[in-house]
Every structure is written in structure tokens, then in C-alpha cells.
């Protein structure tokens, strides 16, 4: 599909808007409809589109696997870290009042925002990992352009 100019143009033009829309969903997550799950999936969908048109290997060049691995664990760590922070500040686990002790009610959205960013990162990374696991090695083009590190990085595929 790489050779089809319409496809290439459609992806190039739509991708930034999809990511911006995902950020919009993300920032409205803490108190309204939207949030980390949705935005993570939308960002991932944007890159899926890129991968479908330009091939999985090209997508993995843009978003390498070590990066999604990092985000998958890092997102949950951000979530847990928010909870641990409040715990070490003398509050209960995930009591967001710790973020802004002077104004506990106002602190709630801030804490939730951090948690939602963690969710968004992890959902994005896990969606990408699933896509990679499904597509890797099935597309002959992938093997040609080949990211050589892909298989050795994750142990021998016995």
C-alpha cells in the first residue's frame, strides 16, 4: 500500500489530528467522559494506520519495541508512584489530597490526571505490543527491510 499516493496522503494528514484528538480525550479524562484508556487506544490506532500502510517494520522504526516496553511498565509505575507518593507523604494509598494538601478537593483532579496519564501510556504501549506480536514476521516485506534486532531482543523464538 506504500505506493498508493492516496493512502500515503490520507495517513500523513490524519495522523497528527488523531494524536491531537487523543490528547484532547486524555486531558478531559479526570472529571468528564474520556480518559487514559480511550486516548491510549486512539494514539495506538493512529500508529496502526501508519503500520498498515507503510508496513510493520517502518512502524517499528518510528516506535521501537524497547520504547513501548518502557512505556508499558512506566505507565503503571506512574500510576503506582502517585499512590506511593501519597503514602509516603502521610496519606492513604492513592489519596490525591497529598498532591496539594492545602486544597484537598482541588487536588483530586490533579492526582487523577497523573493516574490517567499513566493509564494512557500503558494502554498505548500494550496495544502497540499486541499489534507487533500479531504482525511481526507475517509480512514478507518486514523480513526484507528487517529490523534485525527484533527477534534476538526478545529471546529466541523457539
Amino acid at each position: 500500500m506504500k505506493e498508493n499516493p492516496i493512502m500515503r496522503l490520507a495517513v500523513r494528514w490524519n495522523l497528527p489530528f488523531m494524536v491531537v484528538f487523543a490528547l484532547y480525550t486524555q486531558t478531559h479524562g479526570e472529571l468528564g467522559p474520556g480518559g487514559g484508556f480511550q486516548s491510549g487506544v486512539i494514539v495506538a490506532a493512529a500508529f496502526f494506520l501508519y503500520g498498515l500502510v507503510f508496513g510493520g517494520a517502518e512502524m517499528r522504526r518510528v516506535v521501537p519495541r524497547w520504547f513501548t516496553d518502557l512505556l508499558a511498565a512506566g505507565g503503571v509505575l506512574l500510576y503506582v508512584g502517585t499512590g506511593l507518593y501519597s503514602m509516603f507523604m502521610g496519606y492513604e494509598f492513592l489519596d490525591h489530597a497529598a498532591v496539594m494538601p492545602s486544597n484537598p478537593g482541588g487536588a483530586e483532579p490533579w492526582g487523577m490526571t497523573l493516574v490517567e496519564y499513566g493509564v494512557g501510556l500503558t494502554v498505548f504501549a500494550v496495544m502497540m505490543t499486541i499489534f507487533n506480536e500479531i504482525t511481526e514476521g507475517t509480512n514478507p516485506e518486514d523480513n526484507q527491510t528487517g529490523e534485525s534486532g527484533a527477534d534476538t531482543e526478545f529471546g529466541a523464538r523457539a
Binding site: 492513604e92 494509598f93 529471546g155 529466541a156
Partner: protein, 508 residues
């Protein structure tokens, strides 16, 4: 600061292995996964010990922890009582001992490139198991059930280097386990529909007017509550592998890496049984589950069948690991029979067998893991004449086997003593007979292995040495503990009776 952290123990116990598991996965291929896992499980063990002491010293003998400081019916509450704290202590102790054992065993069975994922998942699995035990929220229980199950599926599949069948067993376990979790979740949804709450004590309270209305002209939510409980019961039975729903267990235990089999056999099904007890006795109430719906009859039929069929199937196995897996199905039958009796001795038997079987079967799986480590197989023919080559390993295995039969001076005897007296107290003479027949069948399958170990002759001599001490010490520790609790059952009986009284006291 330390005082504050001490009040945070219920959350810290669950959050610590989760965080550490993520860090292990993040650090990646530098091989320090085991060291982090070992430090974490040891730390969690110390924390559960402290929590149990705090609970027992506390006036009401229970501690409630509010997640995010949200008040009870709205937020998630973690509740530590004598029962949940002791089950957590067992899980944490088994996790620490098996982790100590697992370093060389896992390194020999799991590919190097996947070791950091293995240790991450290992810690997630422990997170889920500890969380299920302490949570006081029906939905949160589902989430933690999924955390432990999903990591378990992957851990089972990582046994594929030894035998490709690990993959099909993992898929089979995944399908059945997911179905079980779905059933449980639908059950929670039905109860939520009827009561509008997810907090376990709160649901129990709100169910009372609903039960009261059933005799009248306008019964409230009768079918909803019955369907909800039925769904939860089926889902949890799948999780704890109660007889007709045990299909996933034998292969999953057989083809998983040795350390994973030991962890699953000694903690996962025990936590499932604990969750089932909690649902019957503290969530829907024994008056509804046993008095009105007669679930106890069904449970007794299932557990009786589990004891007979599990032991019978164990006799027919040629792979010793699979033999132990079928034996586990029978032992789950004993545990379920204990709480189905719903009297003091039966409940005590159930809780005490939870502890004793965790030690015995954990130790036996570890002993088999050493055979796997040295010989690369666990078929009956691999064990032939090993009694001379690996005397300590085989002595541990034999002592564990005696515990499975229930020979006096082993912990199995104590559990069966309580179980039979519970059966007689409840007037269930046929179930007492089933327990005795089960012990006879256990004698047969244990004897088959013991005979092979000590009297079997090999055609050609193989050079086998005793297993390394890092694997031997944890095994002997578990088996030694199971023998100790057979000779001096006062500690376990005290804990089990306190837990039984707590559950029966909460039952309405």
C-alpha cells in the same frame, strides 16, 4: 514515618510486589530479576507477619484500610482479619521459600531472554494472590483474580522449552480460567443490581431485607440473587478446580516450570478456596447458601467425587508430576468438603488442610523440581532407584507422600482427623467413608512412587548427584514444617479454629 507506614501495611503488602514486578520488567535483561524477587518476597513475608500480629493485638481483631481514604461503601476497603491475615502469611511464606528455591530451577527451564519477564510475572502473580486474600470488595477481588490468573497463564506457557505441551495447557487454562472469571464477574454484577453495593460486608447487610422479603407476597430480586450466587459459585469452583471443573489443572501443573507448579499448587488453589469460603460465609451468608439453596449437598457431592476420582486418576499416571496434580484435585476435595460441612470441626479441617496441604504439596513439587533439574524428566521410570542417588530429595518426597496419605505424625493426619470428626458431627457418615477410601487410594499412588524410588532397578547406571543445597534447603524446610505441624498441631489448630469461629460467627 514508620508508624504511618505500619498503618499502611494492608496496601503496602499488595503494592510492593506489583511495583517491584514492574521494575524487574523495566530493568530488562540484566540478570538481577531473581535478586529483586527474593528481596521483595522476603520483605512481603516480614510485612504479613507484622500485619498478623497487629491484627491479633487489635481490639476488634480486624483492621480496615480505606484506599484513597474513600469511605466504605463508595471506595475499596482492604480488610485484615485473623483468617485473611493468616492466609496471607501462608502465601507470603510459600512465595519466599519457593523464590529462594527457584533461581537455579528456573534458569535451567526458562530461556535467558525471557527471565526478566518471568520474574516480573512471578511477582504479579503473588500480588494478585495476596490481594484476593485481603480485599473486602467483591469487584476488586475480580480484578486481583485476573492479575494472578493472567500472570499464571503466561508462567505456565513459559514451560515450553521443556515440553511444547505447556503452550496448549496454558491456552486451555486461559480459556477455562477466563470463563471462570467471567462467571464470577456476572455474579458480582447481579448482586450489585440487587444491592447497589460492591463492598462485601455492605452487600451482606443489604441482602438481609431482600432475604426477609422472600416469604412475603412481594419477593425482591429473588431470581437475581440466586443467579448471582450460582454464577459466583461456578466461577470460583473453576478457579479452585473443584471436581467437574478441574479440567485445566492436571496439564497446567504438569507442563509448567517446576517452581511455578510448586507456587500454584501451594498458593493459587488455596486462595481460590479461601475466596469461595468468603463468598459463602461472609457475602451471601450460610443461611442462604446452605439453608435455602442446599449448595452444601452439591458441594459435598462434588468434593466426594473429587476425592475418589482425583485419587483414582492419580493411581493411573506414569508422570509423577501429573500424579501430584491429580492428587491436588483430591486434596481440594477435602478442603471443599470441610467448609461444606459448615460446622466447627469441618471448618477447622478446611483451614488447617489449606496450610498443611500448601506445605506438603509445595515441598513435593519442589522435590520433583530437583529431579527435573538433575535428570530432565519426572516420569516414574526417571525416579527408578533414585533413593540411593538423591537420598535427601527422595526422603523429602516420601515424607510428603506419607502426609498425603494421612499417616499419624504427619500434618495430613491432623487435617483428616478434624475432617472425619466434622463429618461424624454433622451426621455425614458416607462422607467420612469417602475420606477413608480416599486415604486408601492415596496409599496406593504414593506406594507406587515410593516402591519405584527405593526398590526400582535401572538398566544402566546414571551418574546423578544430590541436588544443590539452595534447592534442597527450601524443600526440606517445607517438608520439615509439614512434619512439625503433624507432631505439634497447636499453632495451626489455633489459627484454624480462630478462623473457623470467625467465619461461623459471621455466618447468618
Amino acid at each position: 514515618m514508620l508508624e504511618h507506614l505500619r498503618t499502611q501495611l494492608p496496601a503496602l503488602i499488595v503494592v510492593t510486589p506489583l511495583t517491584m514486578g514492574l521494575i524487574v520488567a523495566l530493568i530488562g535483561r540484566r540478570q538481577i530479576g531473581w535478586y529483586i524477587a527474593m528481596a521483595t518476597t522476603a520483605g512481603v513475608f516480614a510485612m504479613t507477619l507484622q500485619l498478623l500480629m497487629d491484627v491479633l493485638n487489635h481490639g476488634e481483631r480486624s483492621l480496615t484500610y480505606l484506599m484513597g481514604n474513600w469511605p466504605v461503601p463508595y471506595g475499596i476497603a482492604y480488610k485484615a482479619d485473623p483468617l485473611s491475615a493468616s492466609v496471607m502469611l501462608i502465601v507470603a511464606a510459600m512465595a519466599a521459600v519457593i523464590t529462594f528455591y527457584a533461581r537455579r530451577s528456573v534458569a535451567s527451564e526458562v530461556p535467558v531472554g525471557k527471565l526478566h519477564y518471568f520474574w516480573g510475572l512471578w511477582l504479579f502473580c503473588i500480588t494478585g494472590l495476596l490481594g484476593i486474600t485481603i480485599t473486602g470488595d467483591a469487584f476488586n477481588l475480580y480484578v486481583l483474580l485476573e492479575i494472578s490468573s493472567l500472570s499464571t497463564y503466561t508462567l505456565v506457557a513459559l514451560g515450553k522449552e521443556r515440553n511444547r505441551r505447556a503452550l496448549t495447557s496454558a491456552i486451555n487454562y486461559l480459556l477455562l480460567g477466563t470463563m471462570g472469571a467471567c462467571f464470577y464477574l456476572v455474579g458480582v454484577a447481579y448482586l450489585y443490581m440487587a444491592t447497589g453495593s460492591l463492598n462485601i460486608p455492605d452487600i451482606a447487610e443489604r441482602l438481609q431485607p431482600i432475604y426477609a422479603s422472600w416469604g412475603t407476597d412481594a419477593p425482591l430480586y429473588q431470581k437475581t440473587v440466586i443467579a448471582g450466587f450460582a454464577m459466583m459459585a461456578v466461577g470460583l469452583s473453576l478457579k479452585l478446580a473443584l471436581f467437574p471443573l478441574h479440567g485445566w489443572l492436571p496439564n497446567a501443573y504438569t507442563y509448567a516450570p517446576s517452581a511455578v507448579s510448586a507456587l500454584l499448587a501451594s498458593t493459587a488453589t488455596k486462595v481460590g478456596a479461601y475466596a469461595f469460603m468468603r463468598v459463602i460465609f461472609t457475602l451471601v451468608g450460610v443461611g442462604f447458601a446452605f439453608g435455602r439453596l442446599h449448595t452444601d449437598i452439591a458441594l459435598m457431592a462434588c468434593s466426594g467425587a473429587a476425592i475418589i476420582v482425583g485419587s483414582w486418576m492419580a493411581i493411573r499416571q506414569v508422570n509423577v508430576k501429573k500424579l501430584l496434580a491429580y492428587s491436588s484435585i483430591a486434596q481440594i476435595g477435602y478442603i471443599a468438603l470441610g467448609f461444606a460441612l459448615a460446622n466447627r470441626d469441618g471448618m477447622t479441617a478446611s483451614v488447617i488442610h489449606l496450610i498443611n496441604h500448601a506445605l506438603t504439596k509445595g515441598g513435593m513439587f519442589l522435590a520433583l523440581g530437583m529431579v527435573m533439574y538433575r535428570l530432565g524428566g519426572t516420569r516414574l521410570s526417571d525416579l527408578r532407584g533414585l533413593g540411593r542417588k538423591m537420598p535427601l530429595t527422595m526422603a523429602a518426597f516420601t515424607a510428603g507422600g506419607l502426609g498425603l496419605i494421612g499417616v499419624p505424625l504427619t500434618s495430613g493426619f491432623v487435617s483428616k482427623w478434624y475432617l472425619v470428626s466434622g463429618c461424624l458431627e454433622g451426621g455425614r457418615y458416607e462422607m467420612a467413608a469417602v475420606v477413608l477410601v480416599g486415604s486408601l487410594l492415596a496409599l496406593i499412588y504414593v506406594w507406587r512412587v515410593v516402591e519405584t524410588i527405593y526398590f526400582g532397578k535401572r538398566d544402566e547406571e546414571v551418574q546423578v548427584r544430590e541436588a544443590p543445597w539452595t534447592m534442597l534447603v527450601p524443600t526440606l524446610l517445607l517438608i520439615g514444617a509439614s512434619l512439625y505441624f503433624g507432631i505439634n498441631a497447636s499453632h495451626t489448630a489455633y489459627i484454624a479454629q480462630a478462623a473457623a469461629d470467625y467465619l461461623l460467627g459471621a455466618a447468618r
